[in-house]
Symmetry: C2
Subunit: 225 residues, 2 copies
């Protein structure tokens, strides 16, 4: 019986990582679709989100059954609770990829600002890679790596700030750029949130190792800028 439980746990672990890769792929594709005005790719992202949602439901169901039937304790239970909680973060990454894809479809025929699109594209790469690396830290159960990865969220926030400032300047100067600029700002806010979710995954990796719930990169300071 015990070995079956180990197998189930391993399976849960892998299917969670797989869900993470689905979310990371969705983000990468949504930014690509957005930058290339590729509506077909945007629709693909939107349609495939149902698989990410379904995977979260499956993980919930399996976690629930494993807890009810096997009554795990300490580190095994901690792993199941982590999957239960962190799968919400992955599901939300998928939702944000959908929002970016919807922006691709919504804003048609808009003027393009190549300088800002380049930054959005870079921010997309940063977001995709922080998600991938947080998942690698999860798979390796590497708390130190998770803490390092989480630090990169600060750079993502910096990029977002830079995009916002450029957009505002550009929209003030050229009325024709308002539609694009406001769309870029929204997309940057979605990608910023993806970085926050990746940070959450990193926090879960630390919890998995230590049993302590911690908060990496406390950013909610009431500083005036």
């Amino acid at each position: 019986m015990r070995s079956t439980f180990e197998e189930q746990l391993n399976d849960l672990h892998l299917r969670f990582s797989e869900m993470g890769m689905m979310a990371s792929e969705a983000i990468m594709k949504s930014v690509k679709a957005y930058i290339n005005h590729d509506k077909a790719l945007a629709k693909e992202v939107i349609e495939k989100d149902v698989y990410i949602n379904r995977r979260e439901m499956d993980l919930e169901k399996d976690s629930f059954e494993m807890i009810a039937l096997q009554q795990p304790v300490t580190s095994d239970l901690r792993m199941i609770v982590t999957v239960l909680k962190a799968s919400s973060d992955l599901e939300r990454m998928g939702d944000h990829a959908v929002s970016i894809a919807q922006e691709t479809i919504r804003v048609k025929g808009k003027t393009r600002i190549p300088e800002i699109e380049k930054l959005i594209s870079e921010m997309g790469d940063m977001s995709t890679s922080i998600v991938e690396d947080s998942l690698e830290a999860y798979l390796k159960k590497d708390g130190a790596m998770a803490e390092e990865v989480a630090k990169r969220d600060i750079e993502i926030d910096g990029k977002s700030k830079m995009i916002n400032e450029l957009c505002i300047k550009d929209m003030q100067k050229t009325a024709d750029n308002v539609l694009s600029g406001s769309s870029y700002m929204l997309v940057a806010s979605y990608l910023e949130r993806v970085g926050d979710y990746a940070t959450n995954i990193c926090e879960w990796v630390v919890y998995l190792n230590s049993g302590h719930v911690i908060e990496l990169n406390r950013k909610h300071m009431a500083d005036e800028d």
Copy 2:
């Protein structure tokens, strides 16, 4: 022993609802601060977010211990899993209140567009009330009420769309309104997300009653508009 567990479960239930009220208050205050350019209130929202985060951690810890020590099954376990999962939704509502409060501090001395501020204020009321009512449905364990409450998220999305369209028109017409307009759009996107989280709470109420994970208001359709 059994009665102690019942007490613990009841306590978990109440402290989850309390967390919900903290989140709902944070949203209400953040919108009030934003509309009134009240930086002191905005700072209060940002500083108090730590209590919402701490409450989530406490609920996690207690849920974990209750599962490990009492090994609940069926409906008791389902309730604990609901608290574990849905507390993430409440925590994120708090994060969005913080984002709105940060906007209050960030955008200073901007031009105001009273027509749009009125809509933002209405959207704030709608978001606060959908959160409160989703919590009432949770406390009453009323699945039918939860389904009704979730429907109101569609009106919140409609309001968001209206705000976005007005902002874009206004920014195109008047360059001086770009700073305000882009800020209004961001705040509307935060409030829209709060409505999504309230919908999640409603879904958890349905799950609590039925054991089935469902998705209310499927909005991720790839429709062109």
